[in-house]
Amino acid sequence: MENFDVIVVGGGPAGLSAALSAAKAGMKTVVIERGDYPGTKNVMGGILYTKATDMVVPEFWKEAPLERPIIEQRIAMLSGDESIMAGYRDPAWGVEPFNAHSILRVKFDSWLAKQAEKAGVLILTETLVEDLLYQDDRVVGVRTGRAEGDLGAKVVIIAEGVNNFLAVKAGLAKPLKPQAVAVTVKEVIALPKEKIEDRFCLDEGQGATIELYGDSTAGLMGVGFIYTNKESISIGVGAILDPMIRNNWTPNDLLENLKSKPYVKRLLQGGETKEYLAHLIPEGGYTSVPKLHRQGVLVVGDTAMLMNSLNREGSNLAMISGKIAGEVAAQTIKTGDVSDQAMTVYETRLRDSFVLKDLHHYRHMGMFFEKNEHLLKTYPKLLSQAAKMYLSADGTPKKARQKEIIKMAFEHRSKLGLIKDVYGAWRALL
């Protein structure tokens, strides 16, 4: 049996970041990926945040296959055919050090894998890790599905993604619940770059994102998104699995629903679908984060449920958790103490970073929305009616208009209900 210092299970951003930082610290590291190549099973909306990625691969933007730097983020609230929009644009985001880029995942993951290989990481593909190897209570390696398939390691980093099979087996996590996972479907739609830049009011090479709430998910708990790539647009919609099933929606229907909205349709017009992807996303938030370590084991990325669903951030949490895990693995191996106690450094460092801070901050959000399913149905409608009344020029004095609007609002939701919603939202989000 061949022995490594660190075995990383899973070749996504979390796993590759972990392997990269472990190898950089001089560890003999192997990544075991079940897919044909790193990136093969990976799906995400397609936004890569600069800060986190820079910490893993400094100045990655000089080499990595990126699509467009994001200079504008819009939020749209859809209600039937109507929409309300807000946005923020900062041209400074279009130059170094950037804020975020759109990416196409297959390309980016392959690139990240190459960086890991350059750092000396061995990447084994098409190999499934079936279990951890134990000696008494100590984890000493992994068992793969291949002949003569045992590999020894001082530390195993579990980066198997949202399907947390190994983490469950190792007694660290619980099996996924449909309330705690969202399913995201996404299409990549090809369009000429000039068209993309015209439609989104962008200078050459720059990018924008739109998050769509309300009817974008047919009132289900979730969000739609549109990201501009170089010569394509990524459009997708994610919704929590459980209410989706209850309301008889399929992910594909949700995406078609979003694509048929007038505001969205116009943006995609004339495009040709190049790719169709679907994936699960952990949405359990802070309260669903499993035990992050045990003797000789660290859990990172989606497996650790590290996903900030409000800000649609997952890959950066994954990469930072991976990087920290790689460093902690190297550090504990060097000191010769990989006990559960020694591994707590990982959790401490996560708590000190934005990763767990953000999750903790929004810890009530999931439940808030879960208990208030009307929010995503009532408010978009209410808001767009209010806007329509306010903006329609039909000779009514503005003062009278405002009164009408307030009256209309209370018809939809009682005063008490409105106050409850505001308070609840304030607690959950701020």
Partner: protein, 443 residues
């Protein structure tokens, strides 16, 4: 600035990488990739790209003037396409490469259209006659003769048939070493005839024999060969053979020309060309050639031939497929599909579900984890059409689907979708096909 590559259009043919004088283009994972540091916007690649996948930002339209006077085309784009190509091309045409027709080694002595009549184990492959029909059209378009070629042993009974189906001349090599089909003696025999009589076009069916012997013959003749053609035509100006075949998993049709060598050789898929009329008693010129070789010249010997009625022998090359899914309900109902397949001479296949249920064997499975098929006609019986099945059959020329669920995905890819009870419809189809085929009438 660099050349822009539209990855959706790029087919990874590599023409641009060869054309680029500064080696700025390369193929990565089957797609052209440009090295921005090397590219200096010469635009030579633009002219060779068969799919217009390349563009220069300051030159959005195609280059106006000819960049290379040498590339002046003898193919005139304004000329009407041959009828047979036009059907396919209407509204779909993308581009015609302009390329020079180089002088052919040996000059203009190559003349005539030949069809190899496949005769093995006492049976004539019907595609041979289909090709005599198609060869007639080609020969007329060029203004040359049409000949049949028979190589084998004891082939005399085949000769009048070849005349009956339209051959003006028939070349025969009849020799004991040709008793069983073997690559070596068959290729040698054909090469000896080709070298002596120099035909400009040779056609053969894309059967296991045609696809075995023709590559050997083409290599010996040092000439080009286009496999599995579905459309043939003659370029009106150059009189060259236009060989059209599906490429890239059937996503694209490619017309291929053999410009620099002779003969021009194609294998043609069976049952694509129309069967010509058989005229009993038609006569022509018979040319028998000697074949000076004996058994010791060859390195292979056939020990045995096990005749089998293996309808699934070449599922991926089958021309008509009857395919079943779980809608069939039980293995005993397979007989419905078998009867239909029998009448059509079709190959029996099925979905993953049908295979996993044990009704069929794994080599009969169509789809992503089975065989990818591209028949002329695909009849799907009780198959819902999971994506994994659709990728394996959706490039079939014509799809007929029978399903009781009007929402079944298979109906969305079908040319004819029949919603209804397969236990009523399939027997009705079988009876109807049988009636028409037996009486040889279409209506």
């Amino acid at each position: 600035m660099t050349v822009l590559i539209d990855k959706a259009k790029c087919i990874g043919c590599g023409a641009c990488t060869v054309e680029c004088p500064v080696e700025a283009l390369d193929l990565v994972d089957g797609l052209a990739v440009v090295d921005a540091k090397k590219c200096n916007d010469l635009g030579k690649c633009l002219t060779v790209c068969p799919t217009d996948a390349l563009s220069l930002p300051n030159q959005p339209a195609k280059p106006k003037g000819k960049l290379d006077p040498e590339a002046g085309a003898k193919l005139n784009l304004k000329d009407p396409l041959p009828e047979s190509v036009k059907d396919y091309a209407t509204g779909n045409e993308k581009k015609t490469i302009r390329a020079q027709v180089a002088p052919v080694a040996g000059g203009d002595v190559w003349s005539g259209v030949w069809v190899i009549i496949e005769y093995t184990n006492g049976k004539i492959a019907p595609v041979s006659w289909e090709l005599l029909g198609e060869g007639r059209k080609l020969a007329d378009a060029i203004g040359c003769g049409l000949s049949g070629v028979i190589t084998g042993h004891m082939v005399d009974s085949v000769i009048p048939e070849a005349f009956a189906y339209g051959a003006e001349k028939v070349y025969v090599i009849d020799h004991p070493v040709l008793k069983d089909y073997r690559t070596e003696p068959y290729a040698e025999a054909m090469v000896s005839l080709i070298t002596k009589y120099q035909p400009e076009i040779i056609l053969m069916g894309a059967t296991s024999v045609g696809r075995d012997v023709f590559p050997a013959v083409a290599t010996k003749m040092q000439t080009g060969l286009t496999a599995d053609c579905t459309v043939l035509g003659i370029d009106p100006e150059t009189k060259l053979l236009l060989q059209t075949r599906p490429a890239f998993g059937g996503n694209i049709m490619a017309t291929i020309m053999c410009r620099t060598s002779r003969p021009q050789m194609s294998t043609v898929r069976p049952r694509v060309m129309e069967m010509p009329e058989r005229v009993d008693g038609r006569e022509g010129e018979l040319i028998r050639e000697e074949f000076n070789s004996n058994e010791s010249d060859f390195h292979t010997k056939v020990l045995e031939f096990i005749i089998s009625d293996a309808k699934n022998a070449f599922l991926d090359k089958a021309e008509v497929i009857v395919s079943v899914g779980l809608g069939l309900g039980a293995k005993r109902n397979l007989v419905l599909a078998e009867e239909l397949a029998e009448v059509l001479g079709a190959t029996l296949a099925g979905s993953r579900g049908a295979v996993e249920a044990g009704w069929l064997t794994h080599d009969q499975q169509v789809g992503q984890s089975g065989v990818t098929v591209r028949p002329k006609v695909y009849i799907a019986i009780g198959i819902s059409g999971a994506i994994q099945h659709l990728v394996g059959m959706e490039t079939s020329d014509f799809i007929i689907a029978i399903n009781n669920d009007p929402e079944a995905s298979i109906l969305k890819v079908a040319n004819y979708g029949i919603v209804g009870d397969l236990f009523q419809i399939v027997p009705a189809l079988t009876a109807e096909f049988k009636k028409r085929l037996q009486h040889g009438v279409a209506n």
